[in-house]
């Protein structure tokens, strides 16, 4: 199979994730969309790795996964505490620090 097709898929996934970040309000959904974008990047890395015939892209994909896992831990904690204090998971409600 032509590896370029994986890139098309990665672009599609990234676009879906980006659009989700921009139009949805729910923090959990936003979070999922961010994960989607990260995984789209991972897919692109792996595809490039295959196209160029070396392992660099695959190594970076591992890094991305580690960072994403850490981010999930912190992000979910923030979302949970936000929900506890404000009884809402809407990101638009958390805009109190503007002037």
């Amino acid at each position: 199979m032509n590896p370029v097709n994986y890139l098309y898929l990665a672009a599609l996934l990234f676009t879906i994730g980006a659009t989700g970040v921009l139009i949805r309000k729910n923090a959990i959904v936003l979070f999922m969309c961010v994960e989607l974008m990260l995984n789209a990047c991972n897919l692109a890395f792996v595809a490039f790795s295959r196209m160029h015939g070396n392992l660099d892209g695959q190594i970076i994909a591992f890094f991305t996964m580690v960072v994403a896992a850490a981010e999930v831990v912190v992000g979910l904690a923030i979302i949970v505490s936000l929900f506890r204090t404000r009884h809402s998971a809407s990101v638009d409600d958390a805009s109190l620090m503007k002037l």
């Binding site: 980006a18 970040v21 921009l22 139009i23 309000k25 936003l30 990101v91 638009d92 958390a94 805009s95 109190l96 620090m97 503007k98 002037l99």
Partner: protein, 631 residues
């Protein structure tokens, strides 16, 4: 012998330090310490004088180099003194008359609780003046010059609880500052031109210097002299300086301060001789001040202010003589010395009269005091005869010499200057006779003072009358002593040089003309104040009289031109500061503030709009990268 020179200054300086730092425990003895140290200085002066007389004219100059004051590469100022005949004359005058004034002050300031401090200031004054005349370079002279300014400020404002005295002191200080600026500029010009400011090398290098530069230096020195010697246009402080205690007026007018300007010009003779334009300006300043002071002196009812006008006029004579060049230098100094005697005597006499009259200064409230104060009357009278130039007394010789020298300048200039000095002699006779008649003759016009005390005129204590008697002796005999065998001329000639000039008329003619002017002046004064009773309240007077009472509008002139001008300048500067400088600063701040106010709106707190800007930024970066690749 030369090691004694520093002691001349050190003695009064030591007195000033001890008295001013000693505190109250010296209150009982302070005046004796001050007087003693002034007398010590005079004693050393006499010893040095005797020593100087013992040597031939060429070997009379002594120098003492204490140490290098400012040792910088290419800029060296020595703490070095030079004692020649000119300095010697001043040393004897300053310390001698100064000591007499110290003695007088013991009685005069007896009831003043700050007498110790007064004597400290007097000692400081004498020390600064001695430093001024003994310095061997202009920078050290400038040090003494400023010291004199400081001491005069402290003494004029001695009764600082009176606002008028505090203001007068400030005025004297500020007006003097203008002159001091001239001296500092002159010193800087000397340094850039000659590379040094010591007397000997500067005077030696005059021959190789352009006349324009010498004229500039001369004019700046003249400005300095105008400030210290109260010459037009910097004369306005002298009248107000009468706010100080009377001994201070005597010290300022006779021995120190106002004589400094004459000293400076005569000392810088080499510079002025090579700059005829500067000399001409000097004579003009002298001539104008001579008449100015005399006219002011005619109208004042305050005895001290009338005498102040007279000082201004007499110093005008000296400056005029100093401007004549070698024809006049010797006579300028000779008149300075005789004037030192009779003006000190007159001021001390005036102080004695005030002492007896509850500090009243208005001469219209005196009258008929000659029987109540016989000693004061006689000594004041002798001083009076000396200053108007009564034949045989001091002023006769010294003033006559200046008038002759003015004529001897030659040409139209000589006639004009001679005429002015003759006219001045007549006016001098008029206003001094007026002072004399108002104070000691006529009827009693005494008035009770503000507290209702009737004045009980009485003779002053011995400590005050003895100095007056000694000064009266000087007023009578000094002139004749100097003149017999031309002693003074021979004494000073090696330092200042001398030339006869070319007198258009004989000396006898000049003397006769002076006598005529003198008789006319005395006659008019007698007709106005001797024959008729004097009104206690001053009549309105003619336009000239009213102008003269206001010091010929000198303060009004200064106010309109300098004070108002300064106010307008500061106002326009404030306006520029507010509109331009502050405008730029405030405008920058306001525009940055406004811009950030708008930028702040971007921070709306919505996570998704931040995400948009991130995506947008990324998109722009990628687009730019691609574009750069394509190009």
């Amino acid at each position: 012998m030369e090691n004694l020179i520093a002691l001349l200054i050190a003695a009064p300086l030591f007195g000033a330090v001890v008295l001013l730092c000693g505190g109250r425990r010296l209150d009982k003895t302070g005046h004796w310490i001050g007087t003693l140290l002034a007398a010590v200085s005079f004693g050393i002066g006499v010893v040095l004088f005797a020593d100087m007389l013992g040597r031939s004219a060429d070997e009379r100059t002594l120098t003492q180099n204490l140490y290098t004051w400012i040792p910088v590469e290419g800029f060296q100022a020595d703490m070095a003194f030079q004692l020649d005949q000119l300095s010697m004359t001043f040393v004897l005058l300053i310390s001698g008359v100064g000591t007499l004034i110290h003695v007088y002050s013991i009685g005069y300031m007896e009831h003043d609780e700050r007498r110790r401090r007064f004597f400290g200031y007097l000692n400081l004054f004498v020390a600064a003046m001695l430093l001024l005349v003994l310095a061997d370079n202009y920078l050290l002279l400038y040090f003494g010059w400023e010291g004199v300014g400081l001491a005069s400020y402290l003494l004029i404002g001695f009764w600082q609880h009176k606002p008028s005295a505090a203001t007068a002191a400030k005025k004297a200080f500020l007006v003097n500052r203008v002159g001091d600026m001239g001296l500092s500029i002159a010193i800087m010009l000397m340094f850039t031109t000659f590379g040094t400011f010591a007397f000997t090398p500067v005077f030696g290098a005059v021959g190789e210097t352009s006349e324009g530069m010498l004229t500039a230096i001369g004019l700046m020195l003249l400005l300095a002299a105008c400030g210290k010697s109260a010459q037009v246009p910097l004369q306005s402080w002298l009248g107000d300086a009468m706010e100080g205690p009377t001994p201070v007026s005597a010290l300022i007018h006779a021995a120190t301060m106002v004589t400094a300007g004459v000293y400076l010009i005569v000392r810088s003779a080499a510079v002025f001789n090579a700059a005829p334009d500067a000399q001409l300006v000097v004579t003009v300043v002298g001539a104008v001040t001579l008449l100015f002071g005399a006219i002011v002196g005619c109208a004042k009812d305050d005895i001290k202010k009338a005498l102040a006008g007279s000082t201004m006029s007499q110093i005008g004579y000296m400056i005029l003589a100093a401007g004549l060049g070698p024809i006049g230098y010797v006579f300028a100094i000779m008149h300075l010395v005789t004037h030192g005697f009779f003006k000190a005597g007159l001021f001390l006499g005036a102080g004695s009269v005030m002492h007896g009259m509850n500090d009243e200064v208005d001469m219209r409230k005196y009258g008929a005091l000659r029987t109540y104060m016989p000693v004061t009357f006689v000594t004041f009278g002798l001083g009076y005869l000396a200053i108007i130039g009564f034949p045989g007394l001091s002023g006769f010789f010294s003033k006559d010499m200046i008038i002759e020298a003015a004529f001897a300048k030659g040409g139209t200039e000589g006639w004009i200057l001679g005429g002015v000095t003759l006219l001045g002699a007549g006016i001098t006779a008029f206003y001094m006779t007026r002072v004399m008649l108002l104070t000691f003759f006529g009827e009693k016009r005494w008035q009770p003072d503000a507290d209702g005390h009737e004045p009980h005129p009485h003779e002053s204590p011995k400590s005050m009358t003895i100095p007056m008697v000694i000064l009266a002796f000087g007023s009578v005999f000094a002139g004749a002593f100097f003149e017999i065998g031309e002693r003074f001329l021979k004494w000073l000639e090696p330092v200042t040089g001398y030339s006869h000039g070319n007198p258009p008329v004989s000396a006898m003619t000049v003397t006769a003309a002076t006598m005529v002017m003198l008789l006319v002046g005395v006659g008019i004064a007698w007709a106005m104040y001797g024959r008729r009773p004097v009104p206690v309240v001053a009549p309105r007077g003619s336009l000239l009289t009213r102008a003269a009472r206001r010091d010929l509008y000198q303060d009004d002139f200064n106010h309109v031109v300098l004070v108002r001008g300064g106010e307008h300048l500061t106002r326009s500067l404030v306006y520029v500061d507010h509109s331009l400088v502050d405008g730029v600063v405030n405008g920058t701040a306001a525009s940055v503030g406004g811009l950030s106010g708008r930028l702040r709106k971007l921070q709306n707190g919505y996570a998704r709009s931040y995400a948009v800007s991130m995506f947008g930024g990324t998109a722009i970066l990628i687009a730019a990268t691609l574009l750069m690749r394509a190009v």
